[in-house]
Protein backbone atom coordinates (compact mmCIF):
# COMPACT_ATOMS: atom_id res chain seq x y z
CA UNK A 1 0.00 0.00 0.00
CA UNK A 2 1.42 3.30 -1.00
CA UNK A 3 1.16 6.43 1.02
CA UNK A 4 -1.20 8.02 -1.44
CA UNK A 5 -3.59 5.09 -1.19
CA UNK A 6 -3.72 4.97 2.58
CA UNK A 7 -6.33 6.92 4.45
CA UNK A 8 -5.49 8.94 7.51
CA UNK A 9 -7.28 6.31 9.57
CA UNK A 10 -5.13 3.52 8.22
CA UNK A 11 -1.98 5.51 8.93
CA UNK A 12 -2.91 7.55 12.00
CA UNK A 13 0.67 8.45 12.78
CA UNK A 14 1.09 10.40 9.57
CA UNK A 15 -0.53 13.73 8.87
CA UNK A 16 -2.70 13.70 5.82
CA UNK A 17 -2.24 17.01 4.02
CA UNK A 18 -3.95 15.57 0.99
CA UNK A 19 -7.30 15.26 2.81
CA UNK A 20 -8.86 18.55 1.66
CA UNK A 21 -8.06 17.77 -1.95
CA UNK A 22 -9.74 14.39 -1.88
CA UNK A 23 -12.73 15.10 -4.03
CA UNK A 24 -14.11 11.56 -3.68
CA UNK A 25 -14.67 12.27 -0.05
CA UNK A 26 -17.19 14.97 -0.79
CA UNK A 27 -20.09 12.57 -1.38
CA UNK A 28 -19.34 10.99 1.98
CA UNK A 29 -19.50 14.38 3.63
CA UNK A 30 -22.80 15.10 1.97
CA UNK A 31 -24.10 11.78 3.28
CA UNK A 32 -23.11 12.79 6.79
CA UNK A 33 -24.77 16.16 6.40
CA UNK A 34 -27.92 14.60 5.06
CA UNK A 35 -27.99 11.90 7.73
CA UNK A 36 -27.72 9.13 5.19
CA UNK A 37 -26.08 5.79 5.99
CA UNK A 38 -22.46 5.59 4.89
CA UNK A 39 -21.09 2.80 2.71
CA UNK A 40 -19.25 0.11 4.58
CA UNK A 41 -15.99 0.88 2.86
CA UNK A 42 -15.98 4.46 4.09
CA UNK A 43 -12.99 5.30 6.30
CA UNK A 44 -13.42 4.54 9.96
CA UNK A 45 -12.88 8.17 10.90
CA UNK A 46 -15.75 9.22 8.70
CA UNK A 47 -17.96 6.60 10.27
CA UNK A 48 -16.96 7.80 13.73
CA UNK A 49 -17.61 11.40 12.82
CA UNK A 50 -21.02 10.56 11.41
CA UNK A 51 -21.94 8.59 14.51
CA UNK A 52 -20.99 11.40 16.89
CA UNK A 53 -22.75 14.05 14.84
CA UNK A 54 -25.84 11.90 14.73
CA UNK A 55 -25.85 11.84 18.51
CA UNK A 56 -26.29 15.59 18.50
CA UNK A 57 -29.55 15.20 16.67
CA UNK A 58 -30.81 12.57 19.06
CA UNK A 59 -33.80 13.37 21.23
CA UNK A 60 -33.19 14.06 24.87
CA UNK A 61 -33.75 11.63 27.68
CA UNK A 62 -37.41 11.19 28.66
CA UNK A 63 -38.77 13.82 30.97
CA UNK A 64 -39.18 17.52 31.10
CA UNK A 65 -36.57 19.59 29.34
CA UNK A 66 -35.10 22.92 30.37
CA UNK A 67 -37.53 25.69 29.51
CA UNK A 68 -40.45 23.32 29.04
CA UNK A 69 -42.51 24.68 31.90
CA UNK A 70 -42.11 28.26 30.70
CA UNK A 71 -42.93 27.38 27.12
CA UNK A 72 -46.01 25.43 28.18
CA UNK A 73 -47.14 28.28 30.41
CA UNK A 74 -46.83 30.70 27.48
CA UNK A 75 -48.71 28.25 25.28
CA UNK A 76 -51.49 27.89 27.86
CA UNK A 77 -51.81 31.65 28.23
CA UNK A 78 -52.03 32.05 24.48
CA UNK A 79 -54.83 29.51 24.29
CA UNK A 80 -56.76 30.45 27.41
CA UNK A 81 -60.33 31.59 26.67
CA UNK A 82 -59.77 35.11 27.92
CA UNK A 83 -56.49 35.53 26.17
CA UNK A 84 -56.12 38.31 23.66
CA UNK A 85 -53.67 36.19 21.77
CA UNK A 86 -55.15 34.54 18.71
CA UNK A 87 -55.51 30.80 18.91
CA UNK A 88 -55.27 30.22 15.21
CA UNK A 89 -54.48 32.28 12.19
CA UNK A 90 -55.01 35.83 13.40
CA UNK A 91 -56.53 38.27 10.97
CA UNK A 92 -54.07 40.51 9.20
CA UNK A 93 -53.29 43.68 11.08
CA UNK A 94 -54.53 45.79 8.19
CA UNK A 95 -58.02 44.45 8.75
CA UNK A 96 -57.93 45.68 12.33
CA UNK A 97 -57.04 49.13 11.09
CA UNK A 98 -59.89 49.04 8.64
CA UNK A 99 -62.30 48.00 11.36
CA UNK A 100 -61.09 50.79 13.57
CA UNK A 101 -61.40 53.31 10.77
CA UNK A 102 -64.88 52.03 9.96
CA UNK A 103 -65.95 52.38 13.57
CA UNK A 104 -64.56 55.91 13.67
CA UNK A 105 -66.51 56.85 10.55
CA UNK A 106 -69.68 55.33 11.97
CA UNK A 107 -69.22 57.22 15.21
CA UNK A 108 -68.70 60.46 13.27
CA UNK A 109 -71.89 59.91 11.25
CA UNK A 110 -73.89 59.14 14.39
CA UNK A 111 -72.52 62.22 16.09
CA UNK A 112 -73.33 64.38 13.07
CA UNK A 113 -76.90 63.08 12.93
CA UNK A 114 -77.30 63.64 16.66
CA UNK A 115 -75.99 67.18 16.38
CA UNK A 116 -78.23 67.85 13.38
CA UNK A 117 -81.32 66.54 15.16
CA UNK A 118 -80.47 68.34 18.34
CA UNK A 119 -79.68 71.51 16.46
CA UNK A 120 -82.94 71.33 14.56
CA UNK A 121 -84.88 70.83 17.76
CA UNK A 122 -83.05 73.70 19.37
CA UNK A 123 -83.74 75.85 16.32
CA UNK A 124 -87.46 75.19 16.49
CA UNK A 125 -87.40 75.85 20.19
CA UNK A 126 -85.65 79.13 19.56
CA UNK A 127 -82.72 78.19 21.77
CA UNK A 128 -79.94 78.89 19.35
CA UNK A 129 -77.79 82.03 19.46
CA UNK A 130 -79.39 84.81 17.53
CA UNK A 131 -77.26 84.69 14.36
CA UNK A 132 -77.61 80.95 14.21
CA UNK A 133 -81.30 81.14 14.98
CA UNK A 134 -81.79 83.64 12.17
CA UNK A 135 -79.85 81.43 9.84
CA UNK A 136 -82.05 78.46 10.84
CA UNK A 137 -85.06 80.66 10.28
CA UNK A 138 -84.05 81.35 6.72
CA UNK A 139 -82.87 77.81 6.06
CA UNK A 140 -85.46 75.51 7.58
CA UNK A 141 -88.20 77.87 8.63
CA UNK A 142 -87.48 77.73 12.31
CA UNK A 143 -88.77 80.62 14.42
CA UNK A 144 -86.75 83.74 14.01
CA UNK A 145 -84.64 85.07 16.81
CA UNK A 146 -86.96 86.50 19.42
CA UNK A 147 -85.08 89.73 19.65
CA UNK A 148 -84.50 90.03 15.94
CA UNK A 149 -87.66 91.98 15.08
CA UNK A 150 -86.96 94.80 17.52
CA UNK A 151 -83.59 95.90 16.39
CA UNK A 152 -84.05 99.24 18.00
CA UNK A 153 -84.81 97.57 21.32
CA UNK A 154 -82.18 94.91 21.45
CA UNK A 155 -82.25 93.20 24.78
CA UNK A 156 -79.56 91.45 26.65
CA UNK A 157 -79.63 87.76 26.11
CA UNK A 158 -80.45 87.25 29.73
CA UNK A 159 -83.88 88.59 29.23
CA UNK A 160 -84.88 85.89 26.83
CA UNK A 161 -85.22 83.53 29.74
CA UNK A 162 -88.13 85.48 31.02
CA UNK A 163 -90.26 85.16 28.00
CA UNK A 164 -93.18 82.78 28.18
CA UNK A 165 -92.19 79.22 28.47
CA UNK A 166 -88.66 80.07 29.21
CA UNK A 167 -89.10 79.28 32.83
CA UNK A 168 -89.11 75.63 32.07
CA UNK A 169 -85.51 75.91 31.06
CA UNK A 170 -84.47 77.30 34.39
CA UNK A 171 -81.64 75.38 35.79
CA UNK A 172 -80.27 74.38 32.45
CA UNK A 173 -77.11 75.93 31.08
CA UNK A 174 -79.35 78.08 28.87
CA UNK A 175 -81.58 79.05 31.76
CA UNK A 176 -82.11 82.38 33.26
CA UNK A 177 -79.61 82.19 36.07
CA UNK A 178 -76.83 81.41 33.75
CA UNK A 179 -77.74 84.09 31.28
CA UNK A 180 -78.23 86.64 34.00
CA UNK A 181 -74.80 85.87 35.28
CA UNK A 182 -73.51 86.22 31.76
CA UNK A 183 -75.16 89.57 31.50
CA UNK A 184 -73.71 90.79 34.77
CA UNK A 185 -70.36 89.75 33.51
CA UNK A 186 -71.01 91.45 30.20
CA UNK A 187 -71.52 94.75 31.89
CA UNK A 188 -67.91 94.82 32.73
CA UNK A 189 -66.97 93.63 29.30
CA UNK A 190 -69.10 96.30 27.70
CA UNK A 191 -66.84 98.93 29.14
CA UNK A 192 -63.93 97.48 27.26
CA UNK A 193 -63.26 98.48 23.72
CA UNK A 194 -62.70 94.98 22.41
CA UNK A 195 -64.76 92.73 24.63
CA UNK A 196 -65.82 89.74 22.55
CA UNK A 197 -69.37 89.67 23.85
CA UNK A 198 -69.80 93.32 24.57
CA UNK A 199 -71.22 94.34 21.25
CA UNK A 200 -73.98 91.81 21.32
CA UNK A 201 -74.89 92.25 24.95
CA UNK A 202 -74.66 95.99 25.10
CA UNK A 203 -78.05 97.70 24.73
CA UNK A 204 -78.55 99.52 21.46
CA UNK A 205 -79.57 102.62 23.37
CA UNK A 206 -77.75 102.69 26.66
CA UNK A 207 -79.90 103.70 29.52
CA UNK A 208 -83.18 103.50 27.60
CA UNK A 209 -83.59 99.78 27.32
CA UNK A 210 -85.84 98.13 29.85
CA UNK A 211 -83.71 95.13 29.46
CA UNK A 212 -80.74 96.98 30.60
CA UNK A 213 -82.54 98.18 33.62
CA UNK A 214 -83.79 94.76 34.30
CA UNK A 215 -80.37 93.34 34.13
CA UNK A 216 -79.44 95.30 37.17
CA UNK A 217 -82.24 94.20 39.39
CA UNK A 218 -83.06 90.84 38.01
CA UNK A 219 -85.70 89.69 35.61
CA UNK A 220 -87.59 92.31 33.80
CA UNK A 221 -91.26 92.05 33.40
Amino acid sequence: MSGSDASSHEMPGFPSPSWPSREPETPLLDMILDGQPLPNDAPYGVHALAARLAELADPAEPGALPGEAAALAAFSRAHSPGSAAPARRPAPRRRDHLLTAGRARLAAVVAAVAVALGGTAAAYAGDLPRPVQNFAHRLIGAPASRSAPSRAGQQPAGHQGHQPGAGTRTGTPAGHGHRAAQHRKSRGLARRKHGPGSHQLRPAKPGSSPGHRGSRGGPAG
Binding site: P20, L29, G45, A48, P66, G67, A70, A71, A78
Partner: protein
Protein backbone atom coordinates in the same frame (compact mmCIF):
# COMPACT_ATOMS: atom_id res chain seq x y z
CA UNK B 1 -37.88 14.73 14.01
CA UNK B 2 -41.52 13.73 14.21
CA UNK B 3 -41.87 12.95 10.53
CA UNK B 4 -45.37 12.13 9.32
CA UNK B 5 -46.75 12.69 12.82
CA UNK B 6 -45.82 16.34 12.69
CA UNK B 7 -48.85 17.50 10.72
CA UNK B 8 -51.29 16.03 13.23
CA UNK B 9 -49.28 17.29 16.17
CA UNK B 10 -49.20 20.77 14.69
CA UNK B 11 -52.92 20.81 14.00
CA UNK B 12 -53.73 19.61 17.50
CA UNK B 13 -51.35 22.07 19.09
CA UNK B 14 -52.79 24.93 17.08
CA UNK B 15 -56.17 23.95 18.48
CA UNK B 16 -54.79 24.30 21.99
CA UNK B 17 -53.73 20.73 22.74
CA UNK B 18 -50.91 21.04 25.27
CA UNK B 19 -49.81 17.43 24.83
CA UNK B 20 -49.32 17.99 21.13
CA UNK B 21 -47.39 21.17 21.78
CA UNK B 22 -45.21 19.34 24.31
CA UNK B 23 -44.50 16.68 21.72
CA UNK B 24 -43.27 19.28 19.27
CA UNK B 25 -41.35 21.10 21.97
CA UNK B 26 -39.51 17.99 23.13
CA UNK B 27 -38.62 17.13 19.59
CA UNK B 28 -37.10 20.51 18.81
CA UNK B 29 -35.74 21.73 22.14
CA UNK B 30 -32.66 19.45 22.46
CA UNK B 31 -31.33 20.47 19.06
CA UNK B 32 -32.25 24.06 19.76
CA UNK B 33 -30.33 24.07 23.02
CA UNK B 34 -27.29 22.48 21.40
CA UNK B 35 -27.34 25.03 18.61
CA UNK B 36 -27.69 27.98 20.96
CA UNK B 37 -25.14 26.50 23.34
CA UNK B 38 -22.47 26.99 20.71
CA UNK B 39 -23.70 30.35 19.46
CA UNK B 40 -24.33 31.87 22.87
CA UNK B 41 -22.53 29.86 25.54
CA UNK B 42 -23.95 30.44 28.97
CA UNK B 43 -27.21 31.88 27.72
CA UNK B 44 -28.64 28.85 25.95
CA UNK B 45 -31.70 28.40 28.13
CA UNK B 46 -32.56 32.08 28.19
CA UNK B 47 -32.30 32.41 24.45
CA UNK B 48 -34.22 29.19 23.88
CA UNK B 49 -36.89 30.46 26.26
CA UNK B 50 -37.20 33.74 24.38
CA UNK B 51 -37.34 31.78 21.16
CA UNK B 52 -40.27 29.69 22.36
CA UNK B 53 -42.14 32.75 23.55
CA UNK B 54 -41.91 34.13 20.05
CA UNK B 55 -42.82 30.77 18.56
CA UNK B 56 -45.91 30.53 20.76
CA UNK B 57 -46.94 34.04 19.74
CA UNK B 58 -46.89 33.11 16.07
CA UNK B 59 -47.75 29.46 16.46
CA UNK B 60 -51.37 29.74 15.40
CA UNK B 61 -50.44 31.44 12.16
CA UNK B 62 -47.79 28.95 11.15
CA UNK B 63 -48.58 26.96 8.06
CA UNK B 64 -46.02 24.54 6.70
CA UNK B 65 -44.27 21.24 7.03
CA UNK B 66 -41.90 20.12 9.75
CA UNK B 67 -38.72 21.28 8.07
CA UNK B 68 -40.18 24.73 7.56
CA UNK B 69 -41.23 24.80 11.21
CA UNK B 70 -37.75 23.91 12.39
CA UNK B 71 -36.23 26.47 10.04
CA UNK B 72 -38.58 29.08 11.51
CA UNK B 73 -37.69 28.16 15.08
CA UNK B 74 -33.95 28.17 14.43
CA UNK B 75 -34.19 31.46 12.57
CA UNK B 76 -35.79 33.03 15.63
CA UNK B 77 -33.15 31.48 17.86
CA UNK B 78 -30.39 32.81 15.65
CA UNK B 79 -31.78 36.32 15.85
CA UNK B 80 -32.00 36.08 19.62
CA UNK B 81 -28.45 34.75 19.79
CA UNK B 82 -27.19 37.55 17.56
CA UNK B 83 -28.92 40.09 19.79
CA UNK B 84 -27.35 38.45 22.82
CA UNK B 85 -23.95 38.55 21.18
CA UNK B 86 -24.27 42.23 20.36
CA UNK B 87 -25.32 43.16 23.86
CA UNK B 88 -22.53 41.00 25.22
CA UNK B 89 -19.99 42.61 22.92
CA UNK B 90 -21.00 46.02 24.14
CA UNK B 91 -20.19 45.03 27.68
CA UNK B 92 -17.05 42.98 27.16
CA UNK B 93 -15.22 40.95 24.59
CA UNK B 94 -15.36 37.18 25.12
CA UNK B 95 -12.72 35.10 23.37
CA UNK B 96 -13.94 32.20 21.29
CA UNK B 97 -11.90 29.88 23.49
CA UNK B 98 -14.36 30.64 26.26
CA UNK B 99 -16.92 28.61 24.38
CA UNK B 100 -15.30 25.31 25.24
CA UNK B 101 -14.84 26.40 28.79
CA UNK B 102 -18.50 27.22 29.13
CA UNK B 103 -19.51 23.96 27.52
CA UNK B 104 -17.69 22.04 30.23
CA UNK B 105 -19.05 24.20 33.03
CA UNK B 106 -22.34 23.47 34.77
CA UNK B 107 -25.33 24.84 32.92
CA UNK B 108 -29.05 24.42 33.24
CA UNK B 109 -29.06 22.91 29.79
CA UNK B 110 -26.74 20.14 30.87
CA UNK B 111 -29.64 17.76 31.16
CA UNK B 112 -29.70 17.78 27.39
CA UNK B 113 -25.94 17.43 27.11
CA UNK B 114 -25.72 14.61 29.56
CA UNK B 115 -23.46 12.41 27.48
CA UNK B 116 -19.76 13.10 27.59
CA UNK B 117 -19.39 12.17 23.96
CA UNK B 118 -22.09 14.64 23.04
CA UNK B 119 -20.35 17.34 24.95
CA UNK B 120 -17.04 16.43 23.37
CA UNK B 121 -18.34 16.74 19.84
CA UNK B 122 -19.99 20.03 20.71
CA UNK B 123 -16.67 21.28 21.98
CA UNK B 124 -15.05 20.23 18.73
CA UNK B 125 -17.70 22.04 16.73
CA UNK B 126 -17.35 25.11 18.94
CA UNK B 127 -13.65 25.19 18.10
CA UNK B 128 -14.46 25.64 14.42
CA UNK B 129 -14.73 29.06 12.84
CA UNK B 130 -18.06 30.55 13.82
CA UNK B 131 -19.74 30.30 10.44
CA UNK B 132 -18.63 26.70 9.94
CA UNK B 133 -19.79 25.69 13.40
CA UNK B 134 -23.19 27.24 12.86
CA UNK B 135 -23.65 25.67 9.46
CA UNK B 136 -22.75 22.21 10.73
CA UNK B 137 -25.19 22.56 13.60
CA UNK B 138 -27.99 23.74 11.37
CA UNK B 139 -27.36 20.99 8.86
CA UNK B 140 -26.75 18.09 11.23
CA UNK B 141 -28.43 19.02 14.52
CA UNK B 142 -31.38 21.01 13.26
CA UNK B 143 -31.80 18.74 10.28
CA UNK B 144 -32.17 21.54 7.76
CA UNK B 145 -31.14 21.29 4.14
CA UNK B 146 -28.62 23.49 2.37
CA UNK B 147 -31.26 25.87 1.02
CA UNK B 148 -32.79 26.46 4.45
CA UNK B 149 -29.40 27.02 6.04
CA UNK B 150 -28.39 29.40 3.27
CA UNK B 151 -31.47 31.48 3.92
CA UNK B 152 -30.90 31.49 7.68
CA UNK B 153 -27.23 32.47 7.62
CA UNK B 154 -27.56 34.75 4.60
CA UNK B 155 -25.09 32.93 2.36
CA UNK B 156 -25.33 31.23 -0.98
CA UNK B 157 -26.00 27.50 -1.07
CA UNK B 158 -22.56 26.99 -2.57
CA UNK B 159 -20.92 28.86 0.28
CA UNK B 160 -22.89 26.84 2.81
CA UNK B 161 -21.86 23.62 1.15
CA UNK B 162 -18.19 24.56 1.06
CA UNK B 163 -18.25 25.70 4.69
CA UNK B 164 -19.94 22.47 5.78
CA UNK B 165 -17.40 20.34 3.94
CA UNK B 166 -14.49 22.26 5.39
CA UNK B 167 -15.95 21.88 8.86
CA UNK B 168 -16.43 18.13 8.55
CA UNK B 169 -12.98 17.65 7.08
CA UNK B 170 -11.46 19.55 9.93
CA UNK B 171 -13.42 17.59 12.52
CA UNK B 172 -12.39 14.29 10.95
CA UNK B 173 -8.81 15.44 10.63
CA UNK B 174 -8.68 16.44 14.29
CA UNK B 175 -10.09 13.08 15.25
CA UNK B 176 -7.49 11.29 13.18
CA UNK B 177 -4.70 13.43 14.55
CA UNK B 178 -5.65 12.88 18.16
CA UNK B 179 -6.54 9.27 17.62
CA UNK B 180 -9.85 9.91 19.33
CA UNK B 181 -13.02 8.93 17.64
CA UNK B 182 -14.57 12.22 18.64
Amino acid sequence: VLGPAFADALASAQSGDEAAFTEIFRDVQPALLRYVQVLAPGAAEDIAGDTWLQVVAGFGAFDGEERAFRAWVFTIARHRAVDWGRSRARRSRIPLSAVSERLTSPDTADVVLERISTRAVLESIASLPRDQAEIVLLRVVAGLDTADVARIVGKSQGAVRVAAHRALRRLAKDADRTGVTL
